[in-house]
Amino acid sequence: MAKNNNNNIFKASWTYDEAPESTDHIQIKKQYELYIDGEFTKPVKNNYFDTINPSNGKKIATIAEASSEDVDKAVKAARKAFKGWAALTGKERGKYIFRIARLIQERAREFAVIESLDGGKPIRESRDIDIPLAANHFFYYAGWADKLEYAFPNRNPKPLGVVGQIIPWNFPLLMAAWKLAPALATGNTVVLKPAETTSLTALKLAEIIHESGIPKGVVNIVTGAGETGASIVNNPDVNKIAFTGSTGVGKYIQKATAGTNKKLTLELGGKGANIIFEDAAIDQAVEGIVNAIFFNQGHVCCAGSRLFVQESVADLVIEKLKRRMETLIVGDPLDKNTDIGAINSKKQLQTIENYIKIGINEGGEIYQPECKFPTQGNWCAPTLFLNVSQSHRIVQEEIFGPVLAVQTFRTIDEVIEKANNTPYGLSAGVWTEKGSKIFHLTQKLNAGVVWGNTFNKFDATSPFGGYKESGFGREGGLHGLKPYVKFE
């Protein structure tokens, strides 16, 4: 009988009408001030900046820009509040944090909609993943507040004092939760700066924090860009800096805090290896590839951006992957059927497009399914580069977009060596149905998170963080408490 390898044979015919998430129940102010010492206060220099909806380029709100004077005020407020906060019993501290968790759950939909409006990620992801994980993170650490004596054998943990935290734009509310929850549970007070393109959910969180009754000054939220971040890093009365963002900025911060007594944790970039063996459950592995690099438009530090597929199944995997990519819907983040939303900013889109150009110039074989983009906004089609190698720039450097570099491999030792052949070490994925192979690989891969037969799974109880230039320190789980305490 005739064989037919035409991909279009399985083309989906039924197109889904628009299914927009309702936005008429959410509340966004026209202008947001800084949240310092328990109140919303104008920035000293009266500077503001706009936050833009990346799917249509329209302004959503005006955001205050914190100068170093504002940061100073925030740190002073945090210092003043520290004594009382640390003196509370763990039980009482925990209760405040439980309240925050509950309040997020009650307002979950509003948070999800604003997250998608401000940042560009699909509503399905913010609704089903970001916001529930954020609430759960507060829930988890609230429970540790009165149990710290069990977390560190033979040690008496104490809070560090005032903690400065700087978070990125790819999971705005979730990153705020990852930072605030363990810091507060262990008795620290906080000055937090959200990313300048995604300040809104952090500011809505400030409203919740206010309503939770938490004593003033315990949490301070200062919005702004790189300069505001530098002010936090350089402020002499901050005891610890926690940073999630690019490796470049992370190195700058590590240098800037050298010689000070500031403790530091960094969660930086990655170029995760996603490894598919011939004995994998191929269909699920293909889905795993999609989750690894196209989830959140590839704006994930732990993205599986280097695919290693065993040569004997490479053609099959690539064919299935291409077919699967055809069913991905790129579009309005607020449409419930959107799989891939808007790229977070024009700047990031330029970076990605630049790398795509580099990849083509380097001789990579590019594949992109046909996509119909909306007329305005920042969009990028899911992209494959086939037949590339470890020597290609697009295989070495973090692109932070929906671009997958595909290599083949032949043996286990070869793929381990290549997977580890990078200055990064954040994540890796292994796909095989053979148990011993999974354990062998997880033992040998130099990454802080190794996913076996899955990818991009997060949980409040599960420690996350990198090896090598992907940073140090862990967030989540028992291990996530350590960065926020000192032992007398």
Partner: protein
Amino acid sequence: MSRLDINKTYKLYIGGKFPRTESGRYYTINNSSGNLIANMCLASRKDFRNAVVIARKAQNSWANATALNKGQILYRIAEILEGRKEQFILELIAQGEARKVAQKEVETAIDRLVYYAGWSDKYQQLFSAVNPVSSSHFNFSNLEPVGVVSIIAPEEQSLLGLVSVIAPAIVGGNTVVVLASESKPLTSISFAEVLNSSDVPGGVVNILTGNKTELISHMASHMDVNAIVYCGKDENTLKEISELASNNVKRTIFYKKSDWENELCESPYFIEKTQEVKTTWHPTEI
């Protein structure tokens, strides 16, 4: 003209429902002036038998609920109990406590529920281990619930004592059949109403009121109960329970304390007592 109150009927709590005892018997609880507060069900061994069947049915899916889910349910119990604080204070007063003591007891009970809610997704991290065996194997030990636990609740501190033995058992994935304080049973059935409003699946907690002497031998000897928790000091009872438990190598847990207020009365070790350790091996060589 003053309005006549509707008196409450106190029944048993089994399988998420409130049935009367199948035996139809009762015993009375009077207040300090000797007046009747309530007729309590005098539970029979058949009630206990039925409760165990239901607890067993519910155990597997309760154990498989995520730690997050169990934690949120326990937190919800605390929320509901907090909302009914005054009702419970009044009930404790009716049972003979002073108001200040009653209030402290209810507040501690609420906080203790929050305490154990917070352990649901953490005790595994404390008590489990990856074991560095000398062969090419990945070896890990983790905890699993023993299964169905019968509990004889503390006689004093009828709310706090009850919460202190139920919470650690269920947060660990066990289902329980509890015999409430014999002299102060009111709060136990009112607490059952709180459980019933808190998304606790039916059958996870079952509460009986009745006569200790009559029921203890069944609670200790039942072949389909995996562990028994007894709160009390009487040496003869302790011996009797231990002997009967040996029928099916039941795990026995004895709490002799009479004051559940202080901080030593809550810890992850209370959870650990109704857990088994399972160790798993898997090769790692390729």
